[in-house]
Symmetry: C2
Subunit: 198 residues, 2 copies
């Protein structure tokens, strides 16, 4: 149970969000009921609904919490490689490759988009915002690294990453995702040195 790991040291609200993140990731958003989340967070449904008016509100809060972790990822990249953008870009590949192993369930944000298809779901705005922010950072990094077509490179790397996370989930560690890093290096090299690709 996700919340139990906290041993009651954190506040109920934080335990609920943490338990929701874990259960949504491992079992899916729709497959996870509020009762299971409350139980995993060592609390009850009444407390859950006092903090979050609805399951949808809790879903949005869980996605924002995951987004904060993404921001921490970018902060770490910037602080580890403050001046060498090319090195930072290669570190992005390495860290993303590591995340494929550490997070076999794929991207929580993309998985939420796959699950929550209904028009007007409040999570869509959060998903859009998080993905757009991540993509801006990747495009800025590609531009800073002095590549020939930063936008094409950022889009290519974003597709490879998005694909690797899904593929890891669908076909396991021996599927196409095992070559994520080499695919990234190939496209970085292609867009650094070769002629314009049409």
């Amino acid at each position: 149970m996700a919340g139990n790991a906290n041993g009651g040291k954190t506040k109920p609200r934080e335990r609920i969000v943490s338990a929701a993140c874990t259960l949504f990731r491992e079992n899916g958003i729709r497959a996870t009921g509020v009762e299971a989340i409350a139980e995993a967070a060592d609390t009850n449904k009444m407390t859950l609904y006092r903090h979050f008016g609805s399951k949808d509100e809790l879903i949005c809060e869980a996605l924002k919490c995951i987004s904060d972790r993404h921001s921490a990822f970018w902060d770490r990249l910037a602080s580890d490689f403050p001046s060498d953008s090319r090195r930072r870009l290669l570190a992005w590949v390495e860290l993303r490759a590591a995340s494929l192993v550490e997070e076999p369930y794929g991207c929580d944000i993309s998985n939420a988009a796959v699950e929550l298809k209904e028009t007007g779901h409040p999570a869509h705005a959060v998903i859009e915002q998080v993905k757009a922010a991540q993509h801006r950072q990747l495009t800025d990094l590609c531009a800073a690294a002095g590549t020939r077509d930063p936008e094409l490179l950022a889009n290519s790397l974003a597709l490879l990453m998005e694909g690797a996370r899904v593929s890891r989930c669908v076909s396991g560690p021996d599927g196409p995702s095992r070559e994520f890093s080499r695919a990234c290096y190939a496209v970085i090299e292609a867009l650094s040195n070769a002629d314009t690709v049409n």
Copy 2:
């Protein structure tokens, strides 16, 4: 309603599978109940359960039906470009780019993997089989096209495609998926002409 388009001309079993495919795709597998499928197929739950012992069985049948469409895609590629493998590879890119527009919900098979996380779900075997078969065909095509590292190219293209389908679903048509074709061409060019990528 998906089944109504058939106007009662097809058999109940086919209408049920067709309705299931449509509703799973548009609303998600978990969000779709058997009642809604039966209604969309112009039949009833009792008939549905006579043909399929459970919703899980119907899910597997729907995935196999989608897999047959994938086989038709490969047959079409082979018959349109029987002798020129390089042209066939470029046609793969074009047809896949077109499918991003025609099928904005992404890959039904991958989406099923994202939704159906529970260990031992019978759909996992179908998903694995379909993805492995598709990947074999893509690897064979890359090898026939005379590229330097067919396996790396097939894996890179598979990741770009998988990523583009998710990204189209998550970030819409103006997101990274809009550059799917150019990303493919860049990687095809890189692995056709350049030196070995480490």
